[in-house]
Symmetry: C5
Subunit: 159 residues, 5 copies
């Protein structure tokens, strides 16, 4: 048995701003698909808090992260989305860690049930992607290259 400090670790970051508990969806998938990893869950207020939280989880030893952001419909929300995205991309460039940056935008659907379904499906599908990327290396998603895959909505397929 390896000491706790050497257990592999994967992180789930979500927000209190979100209107769907996507973090629990991702957590369940990752515990199922990555039984040899510790799964760390970190809930922060909103999307601009995610990059700093991601840094802290990486400093705690996580090799991969899924971040689950909920983006409001106003112009300022779009700018915050951009800042968050730049932050996560910068973190991945600096560390090389696998960071799957997932967002649901409140204006993606007007029907609350549809929006919730998108959120749940997207969190699940991308948690599966994270598990594949961590376990399968470069070849994990190769069979799906160029296949028009979508998460949260039906895939559109290749042209």
């Amino acid at each position: 048995m390896r000491p706790a400090g050497e257990t592999k670790c994967v992180g789930v970051i979500d927000t209190t701003f979100s209107r769907v508990d996507m973090g629990s969806v991702a957590e369940t998938v990752l515990r199922d698909l990555l039984p040899e990893y510790r799964v760390l869950r970190y809930t922060v207020p909103g999307i601009k808090d995610i990059p700093g939280a991601a840094r802290r989880l990486i400093d705690m030893g996580c090799e991969g992260l899924i971040t689950l952001g909920w983006v409001g419909p106003a112009e300022v929300d779009k700018l915050s989305y951009l800042a968050m995205s730049v932050g996560l991309v910068t973190l991945s460039v600096l560390t090389g860690k696998v960071i799957v940056d997932v967002t649901v935008h409140e204006d993606e659907a007007s029907d609350p049930r549809e929006l919730k379904e998108i959120a749940v499906n997207r969190a699940r599908a991308h948690a599966e992607n994270l598990a594949k990327l961590l376990k399968g290396g470069l070849d994990a998603l190769r069979p799906l290259a160029g296949q028009g895959i979508r998460q949260g909505r039906p895939s559109v397929g290749p042209l």
Copy 2:
């Protein structure tokens, strides 16, 4: 008694541009909820001065920061908001410190009283968030994950 240099420290950054003294609201909350921390207050002219001030407070030993920006209604203000947000996200990615980046946008409400109320409530709610994040670690906000929490306005709840 620990020497002064070892006291934990938390920072509040606000601006002279702001039309509401959000810094004093946050300062009061943090002194109340984090009695074992020194609270450093740093007032700068406007939002683009905030990231540099944040760096200086971190260099002075702060483990967490709340920044309180007031964003004007013009297009240039939105671009400045984006630059400030990218700066703070970059700082959190480089240092891993807890930086709660709060802003009030002058076009959020047309009624001055409503705008002031939003500013005061948002500063208070996010100062409480900062205290929880510093003391509670990863689990501090977990019970509110996906609950549609808002600061400054009523929460909208989960879908």
Copy 3:
């Protein structure tokens, strides 16, 4: 014969989101034009996953990369395009590696056959550019300076 660890390496990054398998097009070109290089292929979910994957391939020894992104038509897709671009530019600034960042935008053409043709041609042309830049150094593309060259569509020529 040099040991495997010293073989030169070039990387191809593409996505499952893409509706055309541009990665295979680029891979074929690079294996043909750079027989002395190992060609590493890495498929990720979407464009915001590309900068982190690029960092990992550079850490595995790649001297050059071609990244093949597919950008949706919505506003959020454009912002994601910007975040990805900033990430790749930052990576190239930090490492000096040759990163040819190729994208096809779903709203470039309304006819699916035309869009597919653009994607295939652009992937091929830029894979050729990458090979030239890696082998020819500073002078590789000098004869085409200011010639209004386009990839995926016909060149427009100089004024």
Copy 4:
């Protein structure tokens, strides 16, 4: 008397693109308010040259800088404004130096005399801010927190 190399230094960066000599205004204020500092003046072509110049002045020992940008009215000017702002914010995050980033936008006023007056007043007011921040530390601007202070135009006051 301390050797020249140890004299404190503050920098003024302005542009040839600007239609008002804001640099001289700021220089006069800083020489008056900071007699113990060397004042370095650095004129560059346009706003995108400012962040690199700022880095060079910091490398020459400056503890604080005021940058005076003039922003044209076209969309590309706004994007250049954003790039410059991100650059200066990044520099302040990396170095912790006090960088007061001042801009005048050519579309702020249609009357040339009014625009010139805004530029002169803003340069003066922010040079005073820089002097206060360098000499007064964290508390320098505290009495004005949340007071709706404007530079170049009349202050709007608190709500």
Copy 5:
């Protein structure tokens, strides 16, 4: 005579996307004004390739660079312009090198002859600026501060 490795070096980066050979214009100016410098010319496909090329030229010893970008008229081109600008500004902030970032936007003029004239004049004027900045230090452009200087079009003068 100093060894080749110690010769001062200045770089010119241009693109095959450009419709005017601005690189040759800048090269001629720099060879004339900076006879003691080696002039390195580096042609890359498009504007997003410029920041990485700039990093490579700096790594080869260049003290200054002029980059000559041609920006298309579509929204995606504007976003690419922003990414390139952020990349170059970041590079100048990290290295302190003099990087004169020049662009011509295809929608600046509808007449091809006028557009070509803008491009040639702007490349020449900014190559002269680069030479002045490298040789004249902080004071090189001081006499033109606030004079409303334009490159490629007639200067507009001070207010």
